[in-house]
Symmetry: C2
Subunit: 313 residues, 2 copies
């Protein structure tokens, strides 16, 4: 999950690098910190995907702009989106919550109903949790386990120069509502994984540019986006502020669409077979050998300035 | 984890019952909410154990009485203790944290080092997490996965009238220090599970009486404890307050010793083969058909009044 940026402090990516340096190799761990989920070798064969996300009152949501059921729904949805980003099947979830002393019972029930709504919609069992009360604001942490399909998980690493970059839906302006009621692209990811050889994938939580940078960092390549190709959501078009709809589509977080890399042949095939589960795919750019992110607009290529959420603390 | 009691609000057990009523049967879920861990059927065979615990600043710990490394250690240890209570093998953990804006980086590193200390000691991989900063106090939630052994997990249900009740160590007064530096009984549980047919087991986090009640509730039996047999910790003996050492041993939480039920024959065998991994086992009572908890003291049996932590919110 994103946190507001604070350039004087450590970034989450720096912290993950710090962790990675200290994490010993372990034959049970197929993929450790730094991707959408961890991948654990199951004792009896196969792989398990594990992801966790915490939502904090006042930072990720505020009452009464949202209600507790929406918070529960979102806490489950962001984790489902991470499983989708690995093209995995969700299996089971646990939730731990810290409840304010006043009204804790009502909150606990509403959170549960919100989580259950999404868990049921995505065939995920809610198997346990830990419920506490304290003098602080509401905090909820959901951990979700999924299983990789026979084709294995799709990580952020694996994109190659020349690969096409596709997204599963229009982007920008999710703060207008989509950040609360988005549908995690679990089924779409599984369908895409069956239809094509996905080289790399991520869910767009930090913003198109920021999440593309995660793919490029892990895949050790650069990328170019085509300004005119990026699908703009109606929310992004309607916002009246100092940023253009394109800037919203590039920089806004929490759209929770998928961004993935495939070979040009596979990309063409997918565009011909779409829609996949009712969603339209859009070819927004390509991976390139040159490091860095670029935007092509009216035939002119320029460096894409960093935007989107920067995780830090 | 325990929370301070608040009798005007819903108890955690009530909440778990509320959840259980709303939890549909699922062939993948071998054991849902209400035991020390959930049990999930692994896709390729075998079972996974899953548990989660959240520690909240000001409720579960206070700075500067503890340091952040101790908090990280404890966050991992309480989860390891839950895996031990199922006689499972820990495999991997994820952690999500909410860090205060000031000093977040130092806290994050110290928490990690505390978690790693225990994770390494118990061969557990730290595979991922979610790091956030906010305006609230420190909160950390660890989720731990383990695997059941070939003999299966040991739940709270399964104790039978006539069973002996044994504990793995002296009890009471953990607030004097043991609640921070206790050793989760993972190896001891695995050894016991190999040596004997464990009918039911729990880790003593709420207190001997309260946790015995959990076993009785799930096993649908009663129990009697023998006052003179209960092993009193030196901390319990040294506390000078209005409660006796025995009351501390019965009521204090966070000893994280194991309480388990075995047949009398198995109990005798275990007492003869102890120590198990250097720890002494003590026979503290029996399960009985009559519902309720009783204390036998000087040949006189009386109802044991409820004590220990009551989870509520």
């Amino acid at each position: 999950m994103q946190v507001r940026y604070n350039t004087s402090s450590m970034g989450e990516l720096e912290y993950i690098n710090w962790l990675r340096q200290r994490t010993p190799a372990d034959p049970r761990v197929l993929l450790g910190p730094g991707d959408d989920t961890a991948v654990i070798r199951a004792p009896a064969g196969g792989s398990w995907l594990v992801t966790t996300d915490m939502l904090l009152e006042g930072s990720h949501f505020r009452f009464p702009q949202v209600d507790a059921k929406q918070v529960g729904r979102k806490a489950m949805a962001v984790n489902l989106s991470d499983i989708a980003a690995m093209a995995g099947k969700p299996v089971a979830a646990v939730a731990s919550v810290g409840l304010p002393r006043s009204g804790g019972q009502t909150l606990a029930e509403a959170l549960y109903l919100g989580m259950r709504e999404l868990a049921d919609a995505f065939d995920t069992a809610l198997v346990g949790g830990d419920t506490n009360s304290w003098d602080g604001p509401l905090v909820i942490s959901v951990t979700l386990f999924g299983e990789a399909t026979g084709r294995g998980p799709v990580t952020r690493a694996g994109a190659k120069p020349g690969d096409w970059l596709l997204v599963t839906g229009p982007l920008g302006g999710s703060i207008q509502g989509k950040h609360l009621d988005f549908a995690p692209r679990v089924r779409e990811a599984l369908a895409l994984h069956q239809l094509a050889d996905l080289h790399a994938m991520i869910d767009i939580s930090d913003g198109l540019a920021a999440d593309l940078k995660h793919i490029c960092d892990e895949s050790r390549c650069g990328a170019v986006l085509h300004a005119e190709a990026i699908p703009l959501s109606s929310a992004a078009r309607q916002i009246r502020d100092d940023r253009s709809p394109l800037e919203h589509a590039l920089g806004d977080g929490e759209d929770f669409e998928l961004l993935f890399a495939v070979s040009p042949d596979e990309g063409r095939k997918l565009l011909q077979t779409q829609p996949v589960h009712g969603i339209a795919l859009t070819h927004v750019g390509e991976c390139i050998a040159q490091p860095g992110l670029f935007l092509e607009d009216g035939g002119k290529r320029s460096a894409l300035k960093p935007m989107g959420y920067v995780h830090s603390f």
